[in-house]
Every structure is written in structure tokens, then in C-alpha cells.
């Protein structure tokens, strides 16, 4: 294949956020190796600043949208939306992590460099216009996250979580890759636009069964990544076992990126055959909401509870995907933002309360928090109300847009099941509010130190985002609308 492979300056500029993050991550490894323990304090600051710089670059790059690297990447509003989101998630994760790692006596530059690498992978997933690039993005993001999940290597739970995540994750990516191979076999291309072109061409339409099998295999991989039923069983164990800041990261960043890839594949490449995948997603959405919510009802560990809740939330996003429309895509994009804000916040509170060794992650450990630390409890309540979907929070509008999109597409049964599910969900979030405000702290409970600066910043940022999304949702929805313009 002849041709000039040298990327142009414009292409490099479009890819600059990822380049910057990779360079920063690599530098962090070198710094980690050569700095004294005292100098290591500045490593998280460096990581945080490089994320912000990459975020600025991503915004700047959106001024000149277009393809890069032989159409393997597509920098457009959609990509920018998710890039900015995952970078912001990475930045908040760093804020939550610093004090946690200090308590665990495991400070190190590797942690931050792994976060950066994982964010790079997620950015790739959001930008990819090519199945192979999506695969590489998933792998880059996942491998870094596997290590993060087992970061405290003296902790058995961490080890177990990392191993489970690794084994099941590789299994799922194997499915995905198998599906990609089938797609290449049936359509002769792995480029998303190319696949779309083949599917739209009536002269050249591939065999329907083959394309369904190929798509099915890809969907298995993606559904695993977003922890949808029946591929959800890893999530509770992994979320429970991993360090709380890493759980916050895993529950938001990779999930957002996976949904970005999901949307590109279903709403763009395979949009011409949407009749094939809509029924699958319909069943998956219902099963995911029901399994997530009903399993969460019985949990006593807060991390596990939020793990099931995040499964249920994936179900709501799948409802938006089932709508298979532009409004559905916007709704899913909006959902990921408000979900990230409230979940990061909630896990930040958990990381704060759990402290060293995470010995305080049962629901009862939150007893009396309303009196012990009124402000922390109030902010946690905001996140929980948002997770329930009470108006004036981001979570409400997220659900609202999802169900509006579903009704737009005449998915009445799905909407009713979803709405009833959100009423069921109220129960387990309320349990946390109840315990914080309505039950006294047990006798002789040790005092909870004030949250560290990082956690405080993260809490303020997340709660502000949650409330602003709840009062002025159009701020984000308009951007999502422009991002979703690739859908007719």
C-alpha cells in the first residue's frame, strides 16, 4: 500500500492531548525512579496539571475537527465531549487518591502514571473511528486499570479484585476481537465509516446472519465493559475489592469511554442494521436495570451497593441506546456526565470515611455522619438524591432525558419498567441517608478526621457539577447535541 504515512501537523494537533498524556505518564515513571521521597509529593500535582493541560488541548483541538492517521481517529464534537469527560474524571480521581495513598503508605508516581495511561486509552476509545483502534484503546485503558485495581499489593482484596478484573476483562476483549475479525471477514474493512458504507450499499450487502453474529460478538465485549447483564458479575467483586479511589475511577472513566465506543459502533457503523441490535439492547436494558436495582437492595457493603447501583445506571443508559435516535444519544451522553459527577463524589465520600485499610465500608459505619461531619453528610446526600433522581440534581435530568428519548421512540414498556426501577432504587439510597441522619453514631466511635484538601476539592467540584446539571442542564445538553450531530 503506497502512500505518505507521515502525519501532518493538523493530525498531530488533533492527537496532541493523548501525546501529552503519554509523555507525562512516561515522565512520571522517570521521576518516580529518580526523585527522593520528599520530592515525590509533587508527582500528583504534575499529573493533575498535565491532565488539565491535555483537557485544554482537547478543547483547542475541537476547533479543527477532522480525521487523523488515515481516518483511524475522528476528532469531532462527540470525541471531544468524551475526551474532556474522561480527563476530568482522571483529574478528580487524582484529587481523591492522594490522601488515600498516603494513609495506605503506598504513595508512588506509578499510580498517577497508570491513571494517565488509562485516560489515554479511554481517549482513544472516544476518538476511534476504527474497530482496531477501539480494541487498542480498550486494552490500554484496561491493562492500566487492572494494575490500579491491585495497587495495594499487600491487600488480599486488592489482589483478588485485580485478578478477577484481569481474567474476565481479557475474556471479554477476546470476544470483541473475535467479533472484529468477523466484521472484517464479512465487510472487508474495520473502519467504522467503511463498515457503514458496506452496510448501506444494497448491491453489496453482506449476509445478515454473518453480520448479526459479528455484531453480537462485539456487543458481548462492549456489554461486558459497561457491566450490563448478563456480563455484570465481575463488577461487584471488583468494585468492592479495589481501593476506593480506583473504584471511583473504574466506575466512571472506562464506563464512559466504553459507552462512547458503544455509541459510535451502534449509532454510526451499525446504524443501517439497527433492527438487529435494538431487540438485544431492549432485553439487556430491562435485565440490567432489574438485576442491578434488586441486587443492590440486599447489600450491606457500601462499595458493593454502589457497584450494583452502577450496574443499574448502565441499564438506564442502555435504555437511551435502545431508543436509537439522536435524542437518545444526547441523553446517553448527558447521563454519563451527571453519572460521573455523582458517582465520583459518592466514592470520594466513601474513600474519606473508609480510611486506612478500608475497614469502614459497611453501611453501619456511616451512622451519625450527619452529626459527626454535617457538611460531608450533606454533600453525600446531594449525591444520593441525584442517584435517586430527585429534581434539581443532575441525576434527575439524566433520567428525564433518557425516558424522554425512549418515549420519543415509542418504547413505552421500557419506560415504565425504567421508571418503576428508579422508584425501587430510591429504597437503597435512602438507607444510606437514613443511617447518616436518623441513627446515632455507635458508642465509642473513633473520630473522623476532616477531609483532606484533595477530597474537599473533589467533593465541592462534584456537588457543584451535580447541582448545576440539575438546574441548567442545557449547558451540557447543548454540547452533547452538537456532539451527536453525526447521527441523522
Amino acid at each position: 500500500m503506497p502512500g505518505n504515512y507521515m502525519p501532518s501537523a493538523a493530525e498531530l494537533f488533533r492527537f496532541s492531548p493523548e501525546l501529552l498524556l503519554t509523555a507525562a505518564g512516561t515522565l512520571l515513571m522517570i521521576f518516580e525512579a529518580i526523585t527522593s521521597p520528599k520530592q515525590k509529593r509533587s508527582l500528583p500535582v504534575f499529573a493533575f496539571l498535565s491532565l488539565l493541560a491535555a483537557l485544554a488541548l482537547a478543547v483547542a483541538a475541537s476547533s479543527d475537527p477532522g480525521p487523523a492517521f488515515n481516518r483511524m481517529l475522528q476528532v469531532d464534537g462527540f470525541a471531544t465531549f468524551f475526551r474532556v469527560l474522561v480527563m476530568a474524571i482522571g483529574a478528580v480521581t487524582i484529587l481523591i487518591s492522594t490522601n488515600y495513598l498516603k494513609q495506605a503508605e503506598h504513595e508512588g508516581g506509578e499510580f498517577y502514571s497508570l491513571v494517565l495511561f488509562s485516560v489515554v486509552g479511554q481517549c482513544l476509545m472516544a476518538t476511534a473511528n476504527e474497530l482496531i483502534m477501539i480494541f487498542i484503546g480498550i486494552e490500554v485503558s484496561s491493562i492500566a486499570t487492572y494494575v490500579l485495581a491491585g495497587y495495594l499489593r499487600d491487600d488480599k482484596r486488592n489482589n483478588e479484585a485485580a485478578l478477577k478484573y484481569f481474567l474476565l476483562g481479557s475474556f471479554a476483549t477476546a470476544f470483541l476481537l473475535y467479533g472484529v475479525a468477523w466484521i472484517y471477514g464479512t465487510t472487508g474493512t474495520t473502519n467504522l465509516s467503511g463498515v457503514r458504507g458496506v452496510l448501506l450499499d444494497p448491491q453489496n450487502a453482506p449476509n445478515a446472519i454473518l453480520i448479526s453474529v459479528a455484531l453480537g460478538l462485539v456487543l458481548v465485549g462492549l456489554l461486558f465493559k459497561v457491566s450490563a447483564v448478563p456480563f455484570q458479575s465481575w463488577a461487584p467483586d471488583v468494585y468492592q475489592g479495589a481501593p476506593a479511589p480506583v473504584t471511583a475511577f473504574m466506575a466512571t472513566g472506562p464506563k464512559a469511554a466504553a459507552f462512547a465506543a458503544f455509541l459510535r459502533i451502534t449509532m454510526w457503523a451499525f446504524e443501517p442494521v439497527k433492527n438487529h441490535w435494538i431487540p438485544v439492547l431492549w432485553f439487556t436494558a430491562i435485565a440490567t436495570m432489574i438485576v442491578g436495582n434488586f441486587a443492590a437492595l440486599r447489600q450491606s457493603n457500601v462499595k458493593r451497593l454502589l457497584a450494583y447501583s452502577s450496574i443499574a445506571h448502565a441499564g438506564y443508559v442502555l435504555v437511551a441506546l435502545t431508543a436509537a435516535s439522536k435524542t437518545g444519544t444526547e441523553a446517553a451522553m448527558f447521563y454519563m456526565v451527571s453519572y460521573a459527577a455523582m458517582n465520583l463524589g459518592a466514592f470520594a465520600v466513601i474513600a474519606h470515611v473508609a480510611r486506612k485499610g478500608e475497614r469502614r465500608v459497611e453501611i453501619d459505619d456511616f451512622a451519625g455522619l450527619g452529626n459527626r461531619q454535617p457538611l460531608t453528610a450533606a454533600i453525600f446526600t446531594v449525591f444520593l438524591l441525584s442517584l435517586i433522581g430527585v429534581p434539581l440534581t443532575g441525576g434527575f435530568f439524566a433520567k428525564f432525558y433518557v425516558f424522554k428519548a425512549a418515549l420519543d421512540s415509542q418504547l413505552i414498556a421500557l419506560t415504565i419498567v425504567g421508571l418503576l426501577n428508579s422508584a425501587v432504587a430510591a429504597f437503597y439510597y435512602l438507607r444510606l441517608i437514613v443511617i447518616m441522619y436518623m441513627q446515632p453514631a455507635p458508642e465509642g466511635v473513633d473520630t473522623l478526621p476532616e477531609p483532606s484538601l484533595g477530597i474537599r476539592t473533589a467533593l465541592v467540584a462534584c456537588s457543584l457539577a451535580t447541582v448545576v446539571l440539575g438546574v441548567f442542564p442545557s449547558l451540557v445538553l447543548d454540547i452533547a447535541g452538537r456532539g451527536a450531530s453525526f447521527i441523522r
Binding site: 450527619g370 452529626n371 454535617p374 438524591l385 435517586i388 430527585v390 429534581p391 434539581l392 434527575f396 428525564f400 425516558f403 424522554k404 418515549l407 420519543d408 419506560t415 415504565i416 421508571l419 418503576l420 428508579s422 422508584a423 430510591a426 429504597f427 435512602l430 438507607r431 441517608i433 437514613v434 441522619y437 436518623m438 441513627q439 441548567f472 442542564p473 442545557s474 445538553l477 447543548d478 447535541g481
Partner: protein, 520 residues
């Protein structure tokens, strides 16, 4: 900024300020909350003039675009239907703050902050003219009440609070679904706009579509009312809530449900409302009798009053679904009456509780000998609740019965049974509590009313008398508002078979209600 906006926004701002006030100074928070709620009450009185002058149209209307897509408007206004309900809310809030003056000792600033948020929430529901805004306030009012019950309630408070939240939530999510569906169909959340579209035929709802939407809204409202099989959260919530919570719950929050039926269910889905009227009325009648019977055997005073609310609210629903002027006016008037008299009952029970620290009726007896003034006021309130002529409930119940009789005579007979039963349980409660032998514990604990308690209860008792003899001050505004709703319902295509031609009922034979109320 209009007067109505001030009434809505001052409590919301007060909520934020109360949270920020220094925690160590409960006195400051109490005085602040009282001042805010009194100011709001006085401001809300200013609404009366303009609304009573022209109750058919929305007054103090304000409509600003909140967001473009979806097209949500901040659209508020008040008319004859919502006016008195707004004032009832603003009146009861300072009273409840006074009631809680000494009895609330923990998390004081949070308590008063939630009282103000609750006020903002319920006023918001009453004045919203945008379905979305309505839903937002509907849910917001849920949160402070949940905390009021859960933090400051009695022993089983957590169970009661969670049950309350879940019941209401289950209903309201379906309402949200219906609201979105209406938006998808009509492109607007604006109630007047949707009504206009329906009237001009720009928007048509199929028969089964209308019925499902009606049911989705009605379920949310019926849970809040509460209508008979959905009432089980109410005794728990009332029984466990602190006095102020019980009062706000009974007097204001239950009215959100009946208000929603009149404001939204009837005008938007008149056909479905008429098609469903028969079974709804049956449920209301069951509620009237069942509530009264269960109230009779309650050993706990608050639960007794709670079940009496089930019975009284059954009257309201019966009145609404009689679809004539008597029933409708009576129903709206009864909402106000119930707010005043049941609120007062809960407050008086609260007074008893503060003295004896028990809600069990068996722990009392002979209170009349040690606290005669308390007894007198309690008896007056009980008689009002029973529906004694010259007191407020009589007017409302009479109108409802009249309306039911016009619509379908057997309904009135069953409902009248409820009136009789209410006399039985209330008077029996009075007898067991205030007369008979005085236990030593009662003798040693009881003092008569303090000045603060006088200040709380006198306005309510005065209002009971005024609403009983001077219903002309209140009813005309309600009546002309109801005219509009009824016109919408009656002129719609679907005619109800079992009742006399509806057109004839109110219009032709309508006597002057003021006369009939005053003539007794």
C-alpha cells in the same frame, strides 16, 4: 418580581440562610424561621385582593423560559382554586414553627431549614402552571418531609419515613412518565398551553391513551390523598412524625393530591375522569367508612386522627368526582377545612404529648379537671371535625353530600354514614381522654395552656368559626374557579350515563351557596 414570587422564593432563600446560620445558637434560628414564615404569611395575604376580584384567571402570573430544550418554563400563577391553599400553607408554617419551639432540641437549625424548604415546595406545587415545574416542586416537598419524619419522629420513625418516601416516589415516577409523554405529544409542559391545544383540537388524545395518562397522574395523586387501598403509609407517617410534621403532612401535603386531581387530572383528561368516576367514587366511599371504622379502634391518638383523615379525604374525592358544583365546591372547601381542623387536632394532641409523653389514649383520663382551657379548645376542634353546624367542616361536608346526592343518591347515604361514625370516634376519644377518673400521672404533669400555646391555637379555632359561619368570604373565589374546570369536564364529548344530565345540575338549579350555608 411579583408578590407571588416573593411568597415562593423567600422561604427557599430562608432555607439556605437557615443552613448557614451558626449551629450553636438555636434561639437565633428559631426566631429567624419564625420571622421569615410570618413575613411570607403576611405577603401571601396580599394575594387575596387581586385574586378574589378575578378568580377565573391566573393572577400574579409570571412565565420565564427556564430552558430551551426541553421547553421548560418557570410559569407560576394563582387563581381561586390555589389561593386559599397557598394561604393555608403560609399560615400553618409559622404555627408549626411555634409548635416546635420547645419540643425540637436536636439539629435545630436543620429542622427549621426543612420547615422553610417544605413551605417553598408546597407553595411551588400550588402555583406551578408548568407540568415540569409542578413535578419538580412535588418531589422537592417530599425531601424535607422525609427528613422531618425520619430525624425528629418517634420510635418507628425510620420505617415510617422510608415507607412514606417510597409510596410517594412510586406514584410520582409514573406521573413523570405521563408528563414526558404529554410533552412528546404536545411539545410543551405548559398547562394553559396544553389545555388550549386540547380545546382547539391541535392536540388529541386517543381514548385509551387518555385513560392511561389519567391513571398515571391519578395514581400519584391518589397515593398522596390517600385514597383507600393506597393509604397504608399515612397512619405510620402521622403516628411517627413530630407534631409539626404531622400538621404539615395532614393539612397541606395531603391536599397536594386532591389539588392535583382538580388542577391536572380533570381538565386534561375529562373523558377518562368521567369514565373512571364510578370506581373512584366507590374507593372514596370505602375510604370514608373504612377510615372511620379503623379510627374508632385505634389506641393511639395520632393514628386515630390519621385514620380520620383517610375518611375526610374520602369526602373530598367523592365531591370532586360527583362532577357538579355542590360536590366540587364542597370538596375544595373541605380541603381547607380539613387543613385547619385536623391541623389543630394534631397540635392539641401534641400539647397533650408534651405534658404526658404518651400518645396512648389509656394513659389519659380526666384531663378536663386539670386543664380546662385545653379541654374546651379540644372539644371545639373535635366538634368542628365531626361537622357540627356553625363550624367549618359542616359547610364542606354538607356541600359534598348534596353533590353526591345529586349525582347518585346512594352515594350520599353511604357518605352520611361516615359523618355519623366520625361523631362516634371523636366523641369517644374526648370522653376517654378528658373525662373520667384522673390518673396520678396526669394530675402531676398537667398544666393548662401556656401563652405560646394560646397564640398557636386561637387563630385556628377562630378560623374554624369564621369558615363555619362566614363561608361567603372564601367560597366565591373557589366557586368561579371551579366553574371553569366543570365547564371543561362537562362539555367534553363523553357523557356519563348513570347521573342526570350534568348540564342541568349546577347551572339551572344552583342555589346561592352562601345563603344555604348561613341559613342554618
Amino acid at each position: 418580581m411579583t408578590l407571588l414570587e416573593l411568597v415562593l422564593l423567600i422561604p427557599a432563600a430562608g432555607f439556605l440562610v437557615a443552613l448557614l446560620l451558626p449551629k450553636g445558637n438555636p434561639k437565633l434560628v428559631r426566631n429567624f424561621a419564625l420571622a421569615v414564615s410570618l413575613v411570607v404569611f403576611l405577603l401571601s395575604l396580599g394575594l387575596i385582593g387581586a385574586v378574589t376580584a378575578d378568580p377565573q384567571h391566573m393572577q400574579f402570573e409570571r412565565s420565564i423560559q427556564w430552558m430551551q430544550s426541553p421547553a421548560i418554563r418557570y410559569h407560576i400563577g394563582v387563581d381561586g382554586l390555589s389561593l386559599w391553599l397557598v394561604i393555608l400553607s403560609t399560615l400553618l408554617t409559622p404555627i408549626c414553627i411555634l409548635v416546635s419551639w420547645n419540643s425540637i432540641q436536636k439539629n435545630v437549625s436543620l429542622f427549621y431549614a426543612f420547615m422553610l424548604l417544605l413551605l417553598a415546595g408546597v407553595v411551588g406545587v400550588f402555583v406551578s402552571l408548568d407540568l415540569f415545574l409542578f413535578y419538580v416542586f412535588w418531589e422537592i416537598s417530599l425531601v424535607p418531609m422525609y427528613f422531618l419524619i425520619g430525624i425528629w419522629g418517634h420510635d418507628k420513625r425510620i420505617y415510617a419515613a422510608v415507607k412514606f418516601f417510597l409510596y410517594t416516589m412510586a406514584g410520582s415516577v409514573l406521573m413523570l412518565g405521563a408528563i414526558i409523554w404529554l410533552y412528546v405529544k404536545s411539545g410543551s409542559f405548559d398547562i394553559p398551553f396544553i389545555l388550549d391545544s386540547l380545546g382547539k383540537g391541535r392536540l388529541t388524545l386517543g381514548a385509551s391513551e387518555g385513560l392511561w395518562l389519567f391513571l398515571a397522574f391519578f395514581l400519584a395523586f391518589a397515593i398522596k390523598v390517600p385514597l383507600f387501598p393506597l393509604h397504608t403509609w399515612l397512619p405510620d407517617a402521622h403516628g411517627e412524625a413530630p407534631t409539626a410534621g404531622s400538621v404539615m403532612l395532614a393539612s397541606v401535603m395531603l391536599k397536594l393530591g386532591t389539588y392535583g386531581i382538580v388542577r391536572i387530572c380533570l381538565p386534561l383528561f375529562p373523558d377518562a375522569a368521567k369514565a373512571s368516576a364510578n370506581w373512584i367514587v366507590v374507593l372514596a366511599l370505602i375510604g370514608i367508612v373504612y377510615g372511620a371504622l379503623v379510627a374508632m379502634v385505634q389506641p393511639n391518638m395520632k393514628r386515630l386522627v390519621a385514620y380520620s383523615s383517610v375518611s375526610h379525604l374520602g369526602f373530598v374525592v367523592l365531591g370532586i368526582f360527583s362532577f357538579n358544583h355542590f360536590g366540587m365546591d364542597g370538596a375544595v372547601y373541605q380541603m381547607l377545612n380539613h387543613g385547619v381542623s385536623t391541623g389543630a387536632l394534631f397540635i392539641l394532641v401534641g400539647f397533650l404529648y408534651e405534658r404526658r409523653h404518651s400518645l396512648e389514649i389509656v394513659d389519659y383520663g380526666g384531663v378536663a379537671t386539670v386543664a380546662p382551657w385545653l379541654t374546651i379548645l379540644f372539644v371545639i376542634t373535635s366538634l368542628a371535625s365531626i361537622g357540627l353546624p356553625l363550624l367549618n367542616n359542616f359547610v364542606g361536608e354538607f356541600l359534598v353530600l348534596q353533590g353526591a346526592a345529586v349525582a347518585n343518591f346512594p352515594w350520599a347515604i353511604v357518605a352520611a354514614l361516615g359523618v355519623i361514625l366520625s361523631a362516634v370516634y371523636m366523641l369517644w376519644l374526648v370522653q376517654r381522654t378528658f373525662y373520667g377518673a384522673t390518673p396520678a400521672a396526669v394530675k402531676s404533669h398537667f398544666t393548662d395552656l401556656s401563652p405560646r400555646e394560646w397564640a398557636i391555637i386561637v387563630p385556628l379555632v377562630a378560623l374554624m368559626l369564621w369558615m363555619g359561619v362566614g363561608s361567603g368570604s372564601f367560597l366565591p373565589a373557589v366557586r368561579s374557579s371551579n366553574d371553569q374546570t366543570l365547564n371543561l369536564v362537562l362539555k367534553s364529548t363523553y357523557a356519563r350515563q348513570s347521573s342526570p344530565p350534568a348540564e342541568l345540575v349546577g347551572r339551572v338549579t344552583r342555589p346561592d351557596l352562601k345563603e344555604s350555608a348561613d341559613a342554618r
